[in-house]
Assembly symmetry: C2
């Protein structure tokens, strides 16, 4: 057994100060006009002397308010370290929460039992919940949609889920990227997509397709590889794309990891970047600046996403309303060394013959 000397309760403070519990409570939280200056003086002195700190649990229980935010994430990911972005989102949330004197509790969703997560959310221990970077099909999304616990999503979300969300405008980003490539003269533009279970991967492809179609370029199935956001899938993906005939002169990657995998393979194979082929990543990860050639990519405002998500959540908690709008923050193109016009041999205006089918 722990032999911790029990910390003093409000009751002991009241006794020592010779006042009632109610009065102690009142002076502690400064209800104006509920006590005389002398009483306040006395109470504070005792508080100081006893080192009294109110029990947060009791307080929360009585007030039905915890001033705690829940951050919910998939369990099977190394939550924070797996993806540099989680850390940034979390930091954004922490920042905003701390600013408003809220605390943050982390809840991990077991992959096999999403219901269980609810036991940690709908248990009175948080005033609201931020869902961060869940897969598009995570059941918790639906569960929270039905629940009456204030919720916000930081990151991608299926458009059918009616929950306020803060995300990066990635459709616009890849759209812009592809338009730029087209302006440079590229017509054969390939894509290595991310994990299609994540909505972000789908949307990035969507932007890519939009730009292509708008330019009257038919997407070629043999220039598309479905990756999973990991470095290996970038390696495998680029090998496959290079087998296409004709091969793409530029490839948009769903994230930096895959772009870096592609770059590795390209170097080994002696394909020059950007002279022979252009590569665009997505993330502006730390290493993207350090590899050579340095990767052209998109910087996502992840910290701000966390910040805004927390802001939206706090707003819902404090007004008691359910917000419905989605907030999209722009990604910023970081131009480095992996994009150039297509090699002359591929003549920029020859139409792209459809490969398979």
């Amino acid at each position: 057994m722990r032999t911790a000397k029990k910390s003093p309760t409000i009751r002991e403070v009241a006794e020592a100060a010779g006042v009632s519990i109610s009065t102690v409570s009142n002076v502690l939280y400064g209800k104006q006009g509920f006590y005389s200056p002398e009483t306040a003086q006395r109470v504070w002195a005792v508080v100081e002397q006893l080192g009294y700190r109110p029990n947060r649990l009791a307080r929360s229980l009585a007030r039905r308010r915890t001033f705690t935010l829940g951050v919910v994430a998939e369990r099977h990911l190394g939550f924070v370290s797996h993806n540099a972005y989680f850390g940034l989102i979390l930091d954004g949330i922490l920042h905003e929460a701390t600013e408003h004197e809220y605390q943050v509790k982390i809840v991990r969703v077991p992959a096999d039992n999403p219901e269980k997560a609810m036991d940690y959310i709908v248990d009175g221990s948080v005033d609201g919940v931020a869902l961060v970077a869940l897969f598009a099909d995570n059941p918790v999304l639906r569960l929270m949609e039905k629940s009456d616990v204030p919720t916000v999503v930081a990151g991608s979300i299926p458009p059918t889920v009616k929950l306020p969300c803060v995300d990066v405008e990635d459709i616009a980003a890849t759209y812009q990227a592809v338009r730029w490539l087209i302006e440079l003269g590229h017509r054969r533009i390939g894509i290595i997509t991310g994990d299609m279970r994540q909505w972000s991967a789908r949307r990035r492809e969507q932007g890519y397709l939009m730009a292509l179609r708008e330019a009257g370029i038919e997407p070629n199935p043999s220039w598309r590889f479905e990756g999973d956001y990991r470095i290996e899938s970038g390696e495998v993906g680029i090998v496959q794309l290079l087998r296409a005939d004709p091969r793409p002169t530029a490839v948009v990657c769903g994230n930096d990891k895959m772009a870096i995998g592609a770059l590795h393979v390209l170097r080994e194979m002696g394909v020059r970047v950007p002279e022979d082929i252009s590569i665009i990543g997505f993330d502006d990860s730390e290493e993207s600046a350090f590899i050579s050639p340095a990767l052209t990519t998109f910087r996502q405002p992840m910290f701000d996403i966390g910040l805004k998500a927390a802001e939206l959540l706090l707003q819902q908690i404090e007004t008691g309303t359910r917000l419905q709008h989605n907030l999209l923050l722009p990604a910023e193109l970081v131009v480095r060394q992996t994009v150039a016009p297509p090699p002359p041999s591929y003549g920029s205006f020859s139409s792209a013959p459809s490969a398979s089918r």
Copy 2:
């Protein structure tokens, strides 16, 4: 006001099942022999039907046990993203905590008011606390030492603080690194230290000094630069070290960021690595593998540090005892491309003339 339909209480479950509150509580937590099978059946059915979830606050208050761990970190750091390690430590803690059905609350310490952090720790809301990556002089260390809340430190700690801690064995690491350099023939070995407010920086220098002294090499003040763990200080540091005459043939850096800064400058100045000068980092950060030449560095078992720290903490909480031992986990040397024997011109056995003073 939120119009949330109140979630059912244990009381409503009891009424609906036609039993007492005590009985509901007993079946919920499976006290053997405290209820008949039929009663249990009935209670569970009602629980299911009403979607009852026990209120965690009330439960914790009554049991004086929260099954929550506090993770305490400095506020002014971008806690998670500032340093890739925090994320890994946090993941380790999360993993172990989740494994034991504990939750994790994050508490940030305001730089200007460490006492305030205590309001979030000694408030009955956590069963124990993990202090992660605090500066060596952070007052919270002392406050927790005095408090009777179970505590563990993940990361460096001043030796005078009597708190169990889990850390990387960095003395041994830099000692080993320098011994290796000496074996390769280096005699002029410089150092760019980390932020000396962090104990890790001091210890890494300590290992460096040990190896030097053991080999009978007098450390040369002009081969030492006190950095702050940031990339810029690596840049400034290497410039200064190169001004020394004679200049070092190898430099040990307190972390990868500074090593990378040094590498940048070296490339600009046309000093070849490792032919002209050897560089060793510390961290095995993501980018260390991608820069060229790829950085030789140390991999730290940060995830395991978090894991072990949580383990130690849980152990203290559950046995009610205060542990006292320090756990040091080994760092692993990752040999890449930035270390080689010294350039021949510097003849490995000429004694190093002391520079200044």
